[in-house]
Amino acid sequence: MVSLLSLYLGGGAELLFGSVKEHHVTLPNQSEPWDMKQLLVWIRGNMLKERPELFVQGDTVRPGILVLINDADWELMGELEYELQDKDNVVFISTLHGG
């Protein structure tokens, strides 16, 4: 199931992605649905231009980065376990001082 996602980066997180705030990505096909955990791994491998430790820490995002899925707090959607749907909108906003 191909997922077309729109990603938005704010608060300085865009610095790690070549200063581009909006991204539209098509995730490769796979049998099980994509969840946030896999998305983070995919972003780290394919989109992050530099300093991955400033965005991803272990399994999850670095503390201080707010994640919104379809304009709702991801804590309400199950955080890493949330299964991505087609045309979802995921927003990463850094609330940290240095991007």
Partner: protein
């Protein structure tokens, strides 16, 4: 679902588990700002208030809240005259002129949309500040404004039939818009004096002479405060609003303790900061966590411009401030009440009133951060012993009763700043390799204070001829 209206779907969790829906969150957010200003009654109607906007989420949010508060038609709307200041720090953080111009242009379009008077100040202008900026001004009124005078000031603005009959043509709205029109006509809006590449070079040299990122950040903060203060004083603002959020202040509290600023915690993180006397710094955003601010900005399209600074993409262990930030943020993810606990603790801090004695003069304040000096004057005699032993000349006399060193040692060429600084500013200066890179106003004010100190103790200095006749005091 939503903890407030109990019906709509929730979109955000804040604090330790309160889920709000979109509408209730917006109400909660707007209400908090007005409640913060109403609870701490320091902003009087008609006052000129300078909003320090860095372009970041918290200060942009503060700007939008001020707009929101000033625009309401309710009788309890906020009433003050706002101005905006933005400090372009690109010279210190290594940005190119084009990047800086682009950022300034983006911010200018945001500021113009507010219709408030704004000032764009470059950090290079700190090199041409007058040394009067380091003096504490006296507050505008003799005694601090009391709660009853505040109530009286606001009461007469609430339109009642009685009031309207007494003052039919001078309504407050007319007066306020008249005031703001006046200020816009008097001074050129926007950019102040242009800067030259030499200025930028001098600024770069200043920051290059600071060895550690901790000291760099501290110095940057100090210079920024001086610039804001100077602008406020010259443009007639009596209050400055800073956009420090709850999370930011919790981090600042802990890192200030690590930096040696424990004595001034209350003024550094409290709601109002009266250290400069005539200009009071207030922090109305101190009740908002970064998450709330980020979410509000995203949901309600508050424009903010991210400008990379000195510490962007810095490692966790690069400076004390970064380390504290990473510590608090990590702790907050597992224990969501961390930041609010620190915040509530900081609310309990109050400045103890200093004992009234005749010795509290200007020289009792730190040269850079204008806080009360937390180092005793008696230490200066230790320095004299150090200097004397280094140079081989004996001390002339050391009178322990007056606690003044009375050697007639000549001042070295470079100004010795240490005795004029508080403990943490000393640590910052210690990390600098070239003290003469400091802006002129700091060096000349330091020289002035030292010569003032020398004058005060000159009557205790012994003349050379007298010394041989008088036996040594206290056998030292």
């Amino acid at each position: 679902k939503c903890v407030k209206c109990k019906e709509n779907t929730t979109v955000l969790i804040i604090r330790a588990g309160d889920a709000f829906c979109r509408g209730c969150f917006k109400e909660y957010f707007i209400h908090k700002f007005r409640a913060m200003l109403g609870k701490n009654r320091v902003i009087f109607p008609g006052e000129k208030v300078l909003l320090a906007v860095s372009g970041g989420p918290a200060s942009s949010s503060m700007l939008s809240q001020v707009q929101e508060g000033l625009s309401r038609d309710a009788p309890k709307k906020l009433r003050f005259v706002p101005g905006i200041i933005y400090i372009d720090e690109g010279g210190a953080s290594g940005q190119s002129m084009e990047e800086r111009k682009r950022a300034v242009a983006q911010l200018e379009s945001v500021f113009r949309a507010t219709n408030y008077h704004y000032h764009i100040v470059h950090l290079e202008q700190v090199l041409s500040l007058p040394s009067s900026v380091l003096e504490a001004g006296s507050s505008a009124t003799g005694k601090p404004p009391t709660g009853s005078s505040y109530k009286a000031a606001v009461d007469h603005l609430i339109p009642t039939r009685k009031n309207q009959n007494q003052h039919p043509d001078l309504s407050v709205e007319n007066a306020q818009s008249h005031l703001s029109n006046l200020s816009m006509q008097e001074v050129q809006n926007g950019v102040t004096s242009p800067i030259t590449p030499e200025h930028t070079q001098a600024l770069k040299r200043l920051f290059a002479s600071v060895r550690t990122p901790t000291a760099k950040e501290d110095l940057l903060h100090t210079l920024r405060q001086h610039l804001i203060l100077h602008t406020a004083r010259t443009q007639g603002y009596t209050k400055v609003m800073m956009g420090d959020s709850c999370s930011r202040l919790a981090i600042k509290l802990l890192s200030n303790i690590s930096l040696g600023r424990g004595a001034s915690l209350a003024t550094d993180t409290g709601f109002s900061d009266p250290r400069h006397g005539d200009v009071v710094i207030v922090r109305p955003m101190r009740d908002y966590s970064s998450k709330e601010i980020a979410y509000y900005n995203r949901m309600f399209d508050i424009p903010s411009v991210f400008i990379p600074g000195l510490d962007s993409k810095a490692q966790d262990k690069a400076s004390i401030q970064r380390l504290t930030e990473s510590f608090v943020t990590k702790l907050q993810t597992d224990f969501p009440s961390t930041v609010s606990t620190i915040y509530r603790t900081s609310e309990k801090l109050h400045t103890a009133c200093p004992p009234q004695n005749t010795n509290t003069q200007l020289s009792a304040k730190c040269l850079l951060c204008v806080c009360a000096l937390d180092t005793k004057l008696g230490e200066s005699h230790c320095q004299c012993t150090k200097m004397a032993s280094h140079h081989g000349n004996g001390l002339y006399s050391l009178n322990k009763n007056t606690q003044y060193c009375v050697c007639s040692f000549r001042e070295p060429e470079t100004v010795d700043l240490k005795s004029l600084l508080c403990y943490s500013c000393r640590l910052t200066i210690k990390d600098m390799t070239a003290l003469d890179a400091l802006p002129q106003y700091i060096l000349s004010e330091a020289e002035r204070r030292r010569s003032q100190m020398r004058e005060e103790i000159s009557e205790f200095l012994l003349d050379e001829e007298e010394d041989e006749a008088i036996p040594r005091v206290n056998g030292s």
